[in-house]
């Protein structure tokens, strides 16, 4: 187990964590502030990626595509909010599940109809299209480092907004006690719209950033959505800080775990058995992590609300 491998795994874990954070941040805000379970958050991630692909096709520049995709992702989120979600805030969670499930089905199919079913690719921006030499012969793409940096920047800006601005205060108040916020005369409708739109844009941003690394395909957000939910459970619903810590934790555990589990098993059993059981256990790791956290702290690591 070389140090290079560990180093790369840590970097990869951070990168996955950062993308998870961008998705989970919007999700935890929407769930924490509005009590709304938005299963369609994963497709908002996918929408961002497809907008990047389309924008790149139109402009030939990744940066321009990013600048086009963000407001469009925001608009998309607001349209969904206006048409469907705002009618569901007062309803029970399961009606929300049903409706957002319908949104997932529709948008995934629409992506396939409009863009075709095949996996598409978006190249990273030219100025980031180089690599750092980590070790003889092994390069680590600069773009991935850029994703980590961008994600950390966004996290920092979010932290500033949440803790230092008025709207951030309203969001925190809304996450702790939405009824009180409304009773104090704040336009909760507007607040919800802002929170929702912003969350959608964050997810879209994650999709744009992820597009050059992963491929763009219908349904790409579905599995990440599940992991994002794991993240907000571990972090605590409504807490951005929790989402950040949990996302990095999940990213690292998943990535490092995959390497270590199979290698560890190889120490105690023969290679073919390890190759069979290892990946199965590795896939379960983040769920085991979540179960452990729930055992120890049922509301999550940084719960925003005292009781729910």
């Amino acid at each position: 187990m070389s140090t290079t491998l560990i180093l790369i795994q840590v970097l990869n874990g951070l990168q996955l964590g950062v993308i998870l954070f961008l998705i989970a941040a919007g999700l935890t805000l929407v769930f924490g502030v509005m009590g709304f379970i938005n299963l369609a958050h994963g497709v908002q991630y996918m929408v961002g990626a497809y907008l990047a692909y389309w924008g790149y096709g139109v402009t030939g520049s990744f940066v321009l595509a990013l600048l086009m995709a963000l407001p469009l992702a925001l608009v998309m989120g607001l349209i969904l909010e206006f048409l469907i979600f705002r009618h569901l805030y007062d309803r029970d969670h399961l009606s929300q599940v049903l409706a957002t499930f319908g949104v997932i089905l529709f948008l995934n199919q629409l992506a396939k109809v409009v863009f075709g079913p095949a996996s598409l690719s978006v190249p990273p921006p030219a100025f980031l299209d180089f690599s750092f030499t980590l070790v003889d012969g092994l390069l680590y793409p600069a773009y991935r480092i850029a994703v980590i940096v961008a994600g950390l920047l966004v996290a920092f800006v979010l932290w500033l907004v949440i803790t230092r601005t008025r709207i951030g205060m309203l969001i925190r108040a809304g996450a702790t006690n939405p009824d009180m916020v409304s009773a104090l005369g704040v336009n909760v409708r507007l607040l919800f719209m802002v929170v929702f739109g912003f969350g959608a844009m964050l997810a879209g941003f994650a999709g744009v950033m992820a597009a050059p690394i992963f491929s763009v395909e219908p349904g790409m957000g579905d599995n990440l959505l599940i992991v994002a939910f794991v993240v907000i459970i571990i972090g605590g619903a409504g807490s951005i800080r929790g989402a950040f810590v949990a996302a990095l934790l999940v990213g690292l555990v998943d990535t490092l775990g995959r390497t270590l589990v199979t290698d560890g098993l190889r120490l105690v059993m023969d290679a073919s058995a390890a190759n069979q059981i290892g990946p199965a256990i590795a896939s379960m790791l983040i769920y085991v992590l979540m179960a452990l956290v729930l055992f120890w702290r049922p509301e999550g690591l940084f719960a925003a609300r005292a009781a729910r």
């Binding site: 769930f31 469907i84 969670h93 049903l98 409706a99 089905l105 199919q109 179960a291």
Partner: protein
């Protein structure tokens, strides 16, 4: 989980019409093999069997979700456990269904008790996620069984013996068995939810502290419900294995669990027939739409959204309103 649908009260107040609806549905299902002789053939009966098996699972989930307020996102795992018990035993040469069924039910009960003991310590969204976690564990575990097909699944070459007879080797035999199982599951859950057990469960959904202060162990009641639901789902799994002659880990995937939740909510939770109607509707609409176009989800998705927005209490609630019932 807040928000018990008004349909609960409605259903409780009109048991006879609910019985009638169920009766009609079962009668139609019983007629399907005869209709199939004229048009549709084995395709129609196969579709009906698939719908009935899913309805059994949905009914078991409604016991948990609608009455217990426990939204399990890992319920399909029990179906998979039942199916794989049957699949593995049939592959290893144990053909008698009277042996397979108890083993499947037992395995599901064991897993339910073990996982339920952990899951039921949480509530709300945490409960949803931790049931998902256990469901995923089952899914990955089954997918790693290389000698039983792993992810590709396992083709079953022989039908099980039913008490020594070849009853389950014929399509009619399977159809009748599944229909009887469906009626049985419906009646069983009907009985359970109408009994004191059901009332305590529902009360605990509304106000667990109150129920606990009355001396009931909320945990015990919920765990029992969890195990019962698991066992019913496992029976459905065994029936699936017999019907399809094929089992695969995808039977226990989170997408399937999600479909089940959708079926129950769609139909109307905690109603007599909600789960039954929801499952049948889901399958039939899927088949009808997919024969019109391969992009049928473009229609199905918005349909679900509309039902969520405008049909409170699900399809059963919609039916009630059409019938003009007031509560």
């Amino acid at each position: 989980m807040s928000g018990a649908p008004q349909a609960t009260a409605a259903a409780a107040g009109r048991p006879r019409s609910a019985l009638l609806v169920a009766g009609v549905i079962f009668a139609v299902l019983a007629l399907v093999p005869f209709i199939a002789e004229v048009a549709g053939g084995a395709y129609l009966t196969s579709l009906a069997v698939r719908a009935m098996i899913l309805a059994i699972v949905a009914i078991s989930l409604d016991l948990l979700m609608g009455h217990g307020g426990l939204v399990s996102f890992g319920h399909s795992a029990f179906v998979a456990i039942g199916a794989y018990c049957a699949g593995i035993m049939l592959t290893e040469g144990i053909y008698e269904i009277a042996v397979i069924l108890p083993v499947a039910i037992g395995a599901a009960a064991l897993f339910a008790l073990a996982s339920g003991a952990v899951c039921l310590r949480t509530s709300g969204v945490s409960f949803i996620m931790i049931t998902l976690a256990f469901g995923q564990m089952v899914y990955f575990a089954l997918g790693s069984l290389a000698q039983y097909g792993a992810d590709d699944g396992l083709t079953l070459w022989s039908a099980p013996d039913a008490l020594g007879t070849k009853w389950l080797a014929s399509k009619t035999g399977v159809y009748v068995t599944v229909l009887i199982a469906l009626i049985g599951a419906w009646a069983l859950v009907h009985r359970i939810t109408g009994s004191r057990f059901g009332r305590v469960l529902r009360a605990a959904r509304q106000n667990p502290a109150r129920v606990a202060s009355m001396g009931y162990s909320v945990f015990r009641y919920r765990l029992t419900a969890y195990a019962i639901a698991a066992m019913i789902a496992a029976v459905a799994g065994v029936l699936w294995a017999v019907h399809a002659s094929f089992v695969s880990p995808s039977l226990g995937s989170w997408q399937r669990s999600g479909d089940l939740i959708v079926m129950v909510v769609l139909g109307g939770m905690a109603t007599r027939n909600g789960a039954l109607i929801g499952a049948l509707f889901f399958i039939v609409i899927e088949e009808v739409l997919s024969s019109i176009t391969h992009d049928w989800r473009l229609i199905f998705g918005p349909l679900l959204i509309l039902i969520a927005l405008y049909a409170r209490g699900g399809l059963v609630g919609l039916l009630d309103r059409i019938q003009g019932d007031r509560t």
